[in-house]
Amino acid sequence: MNDWLTHAENWVFILIALPMLIGAWRSVTSRNVVHSVLFLVIALAASAALFLLLGAEFVAWSVVLVYIGAVIVLFLFGIMITRAPLGMETELSHSNQTKIGAALVSGALFALITVTTITGFGDTEIVAKPTRTSEIGQSMFERFVIPFEVISVVLLAALIGGIVLARRDPVEGDEALQ
């Protein structure tokens, strides 16, 4: 452990991981909907910083652009459109009884994942190496070109599905909706 703390990159990791966990914790417990979304921004920005620490630059900036840029705006729109209470509100979460059960389940899950993976990979050293974007592009358009095309179709289907689901069907004789 002492040896672990002598490396500067591990201190950077702690500096990133603490805001990440606090942001994630507050985003699932906050009583204010908008605060909850903004705490998610902290957690996602910290995950982007973690990817930069590991040298995965393209993934990091994709997270910033797609998640922090687009998905968060979608969430804010969803909250505003569904008129969720914007102020302090206790009805946002289930009762305390459910919370105890959920805490037990997620604690058991955390213990299970940690124990199984730590016994397998525990103290394996990893050395961060920058991955160049050209390597990612090369690999994506050679080895992974079929999954890439499938993802394109998924995005197109989601686009069409979102429009079909969310648009209001015009009702006969209702002028206001047409």
Partner: protein, 101 residues
């Protein structure tokens, strides 16, 4: 850096996401917790990719796919929540008991 620190962080993030999915009543916030779980998976993917020193960067490419699928999921999910809200004037998941016997 050791692999364990990323595994523990990812597991903690995933468990927090599960906690959020189980406790939140508002459907938008349930989707938000799912997003947290996807972020945890991304952390694990990238850490294992760096550990395996994959020449084709498979872990990073699959985390990019997860980002794309997450964006599609949020779009569809929010459209469904919007539809439910329009029909039932509420976005609370425990009031959606139409299929309950």
């Amino acid at each position: 850096m050791i692999l364990g620190q990323f595994i523990i962080l990812g597991a903690a993030l995933f468990s927090l996401g599960v906690y959020g999915v189980l406790t939140r009543r508002n459907a938008v916030l349930v989707l938000l917790s799912v997003e947290l779980m996807l972020a945890a998976v991304n952390v694990n993917f990238v850490a294992f990719d760096i550990y395996a020193r994959d020449v084709m960067a498979g872990g990073q490419i699959f985390s990019l796919f997860i980002i794309a699928v997450g964006a599609a999921e949020v779009g569809i999910g929010l459209a469904i929540v919007l539809l439910i809200f329009r029909n039932r004037q509420s976005a609370n998941v425990d009031e959606l008991d139409l299929m309950k016997l």
